[in-house]
């Protein structure tokens, strides 16, 4: 464990917790024992982070009307969602802002079409479809549990691995 992940480090206290310093335990310094090769390379991370920062930084009226920039809490929620449904080598999704201050996450691949419209944290309209089938796909409203789209997202991961193998 290093200082960044030690829950008792002052850095963590300042950044993430509602606790106060008065009862904080000062953790002994843990020397990080890291094997860099064992850490997963999250291939989609940089692109997603850059895109989220971009949609949060849009000016009001970015769509030519009254579109608002993506709210930070919606972007943070989107990131948490992606962390829970993507594998390290899942292709990076398209991320587009919604005028209401939300955002939409999309994958349009041969193996699956996935659209996640995040109107606000915990207000997600999910659409999934298999392009090889002629049905209309499936829509669901989701809040915090995204197990439903997990197998669909994992289909995307498979296609990337095949590309890598090739």
């Amino acid at each position: 464990m290093n200082a960044q992940t030690n829950p008792f480090s002052p850095q963590t206290w300042q950044r993430d917790t509602a606790r106060t310093r008065i009862s904080e335990v000062v953790g002994f310094p843990f020397n990080p024992v890291r094997v860099t090769l064992s850490e997963p390379q999250v291939t989609w991370a940089d692109e997603v982070r850059a895109r989220l920062n971009h949609v949060c930084s849009l000016p009001v009226g970015w769509d030519g009307y009254h579109g608002r920039p993506t709210r930070f809490d919606a972007a943070e929620f989107a990131l948490r969602l992606l962390q829970r449904v993507c594998k390290p080598h899942t292709p990076a999704p398209f991320i587009v802002p919604l005028p209401c201050g939300g955002l939409q996450i999309e994958w349009h691949e041969k193996s699956a079409i996935i659209e996640l419209g995040i109107r606000a944290p915990m207000e997600v309209d999910a659409f999934v479809a298999d392009p090889s089938l002629s049905d209309d796909g499936e829509e669901r409203s989701l809040t915090v549990d995204f197990s439903f789209i997990l197998p669909w997202v994992h289909k995307l991961g498979g296609s990337i691995e095949n590309k890598s193998a090739a």
Binding site: F8, D16, T20, R84, F146
Partner: protein
């Protein structure tokens, strides 16, 4: 139909070891409460607001299932109270200590006036008496005379109002200034959500510095003795209780903290609505217990790491100088669906005097069943229950004895 009312006083007709920090205005309805509640309760609540009396939490108890069913969502009925008072038709409005008694009594008289117009009859004012009723503590929870608890945090997160500006922070402070006269400015907390799906891909953070617009501050409003504080930022509202050595303060119970928090939350909600920022719509809530367990006793003798834990013995691998562990477990709702997580974080460390100890933090964070303050408070209470039970499960009987476990 018989109606009586009991205004809050500072009398001591009902004996409690420690006076709770709130008062109750109780209105008793006889007969079929279900027939009268629709117009009357609405009028009562409107009147209370007009009188600056804040109904922080209301219990309605009625013999009519319909009236319970139709009760406004923002006001929760308490099962224990409901059970005890079933068929007696009572409404209780709970007020905070800051409310002047005469205001409350004035409010009660107004309520009488309303009912008088409605041709109800009353018991005379001689029925005025103390009506302090603490929130009942759930059965089966442990009790310690000297728990290792050093801090308790209750918090809700909600979408911040888009038109909020830091210039309004003074207005928020004024809501709590009497009890929390000191202010400090802090960095804001980032939003946090518990999301479920597959295993988490670690280590991703957004760069908050790149986001358009100003970064709002987080404010600490501290009590005079520094033992309690309110933390406010546009999308968070937090209450901390903490042990302060020089104050030698002791932990009462969670019920005291959550009651205060409920009152503060109602006050904030009222202010948000007054400002047209809309009602508070909680999307996550969080309760944390921070424990510190010393690794040397009063005589300076070393306490082994394994002393405090039931099934964890770090010394099994030899002499261990430091250790840490983190556990996460899903927190399920009644339908066994995940709504949050319980975090258990443990690490060796030192206190502010440099003495070695073990820090053990238990946090429950999750989404309330409904986007309302009442639902958030329920989840906080459920989270506390889970934390208490987990604490007892992972800590040893010997440690319980040291902390003076009584239940």
């Amino acid at each position: 139909v018989l109606l009586s009312w009991v205004g809050p006083t500072s009398g001591a007709a009902i004996k409690f070891d420690k006076a709770p920090p709130w008062r109750i205005l109780r209105v008793d309805f006889g007969g079929d409460f279900g027939e009268s509640w629709i117009c009357e309760i609405t009028r009562l609540l409107r009147l209370c607001r007009f009188q600056k009396a804040r109904p922080a939490r209301a219990f309605v108890i009625s013999g009519s299932a319909n009236s319970l069913h139709s009760w406004p969502e923002s006001l929760s009925d308490h099962p224990a109270e409901s059970h005890a008072m079933r068929n007696r038709g009572k409404l209780r409005l709970r007020f905070d200590e800051g409310l002047a008694i005469r205001e409350a009594i004035s409010c009660a008289k107004k309520i009488r006036g309303i009912h008088s117009e409605a041709n109800y009859h009353y018991i005379s004012t001689s029925t005025l008496r103390c009506a302090q009723m603490p929130l009942p503590r759930p059965e089966g929870l442990p009790d310690f005379e000297n728990p290792p608890l050093t801090e308790v945090v209750v918090s809700i997160q909600f979408p911040g109002p888009t038109s909020y500006s830091d210039v309004y922070a003074g207005e928020i402070w004024s809501l709590f200034k009497n009890d929390f006269p000191t202010v400090q400015e802090m960095l804001p907390l980032p939003p946090n959500f518990e999301v479920f799906g597959g295993p988490e891909v670690p280590g991703l953070k957004l760069n908050i510095g790149l986001v358009t617009g100003p970064i709002r501050k987080r404010y600490w409003f501290l009590s005079l003795d520094n033992t309690e504080l309110i933390q406010f930022q546009p999308d968070r509202f937090i209450h901390n209780w903490r042990k302060v050595k020089k104050e030698n303060n002791t932990y009462g119970h969670f019920e005291e903290i959550i009651e205060k928090y409920a009152i503060e939350l109602a006050r904030l909600d009222e202010h948000f609505q007054k400002k047209s920022w809309g009602p508070l719509v909680p999307n996550q809530c969080e309760v944390t217990y921070v424990n510190q367990m010393p690794l040397v006793d009063e005589n300076g003798a070393e306490i082994p790491l394994s002393f405090y834990f039931r099934n964890i013995d770090p010394s099994s691998v030899g002499a261990v100088s430091d250790f840490a562990f983190n556990l996460r477990t899903p927190f399920l709702d009644e339908k066994q669906q995940p709504i949050g997580r319980l975090y258990i974080e443990c690490s060796t460390g030192i206190d502010d005097e440099g003495k070695p100890l073990i820090g053990l933090n238990l946090t429950m964070r999750g989404a309330p069943a409904e986007p309302s303050c009442a639902s958030a408070l329920k989840l906080l209470e459920a989270g506390r229950t889970q934390i208490d039970k987990t604490f007892v499960k992972i800590t040893s009987d010997a440690a319980h004895k040291k902390w003076g476990r009584t239940k």
